[in-house]
Structure formats: structure tokens, C-alpha cells
């Protein structure tokens, strides 16, 4: 594994938690984002994710650098899966370790917000009666978040 990566197979979150754990860390927050079946009353059958892989991995690493500068003593690992994902599959994992828990919680939430702003990854929702790239055209469910 790499600390910041796009993957095409099932994510094992423990790998990322283990990666950030160090003797000086008193806290590890592990966020997993999953494929949700219902979004604003519309039922998703499955999701398809696409990424501009080299840039996406660079931007994930940039988020890691931003966090390590902003919250002293933190260490970060992030992975995002692409391809076809089924309901409840893990789409993204964010692991943050820090000396104390507050930084680990805050930094973890910051990471998912930044992913939704700057990382070139796109989600297509496939419904029973159609499909749509989310964030692309604002027709159907706003695709708020995982």
C-alpha cells in the first residue's frame, strides 16, 4: 500500500490505521465512507467511480501535507477506490493519528471535506431507471456525501 492511493480492489481499513499508528500517537481516527442505497428518495443500484489517477494521488498527498502542517504531530493515510462499487462497499478510508484525540477527529473531517473539493474523482450513480454523473449536472439527487 501507499499512504495516498487510488485503488481498484476492496479496501481493508486496518492497513491504513496500522500505517499511521506510532508510539507517540494516543489517538487514531478511522473514517470509512460507504456506498449508500438511498439518496433523497432515489434508490442507487450501484456506483461507478472514475479518477484522474496520478493527479488524484497527488491531491490526496497534498491534503495529507495540509493536515500535518495544520495539526502538529498528525500522520495521515487516505485511499479511494474506483470502478464499480456495490451498496455498503467502502469507497474511501481516511486514517489520522495524533498525540491527542481532538486533532485526530478534526483533521479527519477536514480530509473528507478537502477530498470533495480538490481531488479529481467522479461518482456516477446507477439507478433502476437511469444514471447520472454526480456533481456534473445538478439534475437529480445532489450527491451530498457518502
Amino acid at each position: 500500500m501507499k499512504a495516498f492511493e487510488i485503488v481498484t480492489t476492496q479496501i481493508n481499513p486496518q492497513l491504513y490505521a496500522d500505517f499511521v499508528l506510532r508510539p507517540e500517537a494516543g489517538a487514531v481516527t478511522l473514517f470509512t465512507g460507504h456506498v449508500r442505497e438511498w439518496t433523497k428518495g432515489v434508490r442507487t443500484m450501484y456506483l461507478s467511480y472514475e479518477a484522474y489517477i496520478p493527479m488524484a494521488e497527488k491531491k490526496l498527498a497534498q491534503i495529507g501535507e495540509e493536515i500535518e502542517q495544520r495539526w502538529e504531530g498528525t500522520k495521515v493515510a487516505i485511499a479511494h477506490r474506483i470502478g464499480e462499487l456495490q451498496i455498503s462497499d467502502i469507497a474511501v478510508v481516511i486514517a489520522v493519528s495524533s498525540p491527542h484525540r481532538k486533532s485526530a477527529y478534526e483533521a479527519n473531517e477536514y480530509a473528507i471535506e478537502r477530498i470533495k473539493e480538490i481531488v479529481p474523482i467522479w461518482k456516477k450513480e446507477i439507478w433502476e431507471d437511469g444514471e447520472e454523473w454526480i456533481g456534473d449536472q445538478k439534475k437529480k439527487p445532489e450527491g451530498e456525501s457518502v
Partner: protein
Amino acid sequence: MISLRYFAGLKEQTGISEEQVDMAGKTVEELWQWANEKYPEFLSGAARLAVNEEYALPTDVLASGDVVAFIPPVSGG
């Protein structure tokens, strides 16, 4: 030559994922205008352009060999 890359909904609109254009020396904004003329359905205007894997400014000047990606609004997570 400049290499162009399209993703997600933009890729479906252009029908291609890559193409080459002879626009070295032009600005990012000029390339954007060219793309909007060639692919009027882009419309949205919401896409950002990345040059060599970094978000670009409209005034950035393109050089031969650059890879320009059209980045529609992202929706990871």
C-alpha cells in the same frame, strides 16, 4: 502539441478520452474557448483545467508536451 484529457461526464460528451491539439503558446483561457466552440454542450463552465496534474489559471501559457485535463466538478468520497 498539447494532450487533452477528458473525464466523467465530459468524456461522455466529447465521446473521447484524449486528443492532441496544436495550441502551444496559447493560454488556458484560449484553450477553454476553443473547447467550448468545439463541444458546445460543455456549457456548464464549471469545469476546471489542470495542466500537468495541477490546477491552472486562465492566464497560464501552454507549452508543447503539456497535458491538460478538463476536470468537471468532483464528487469523490
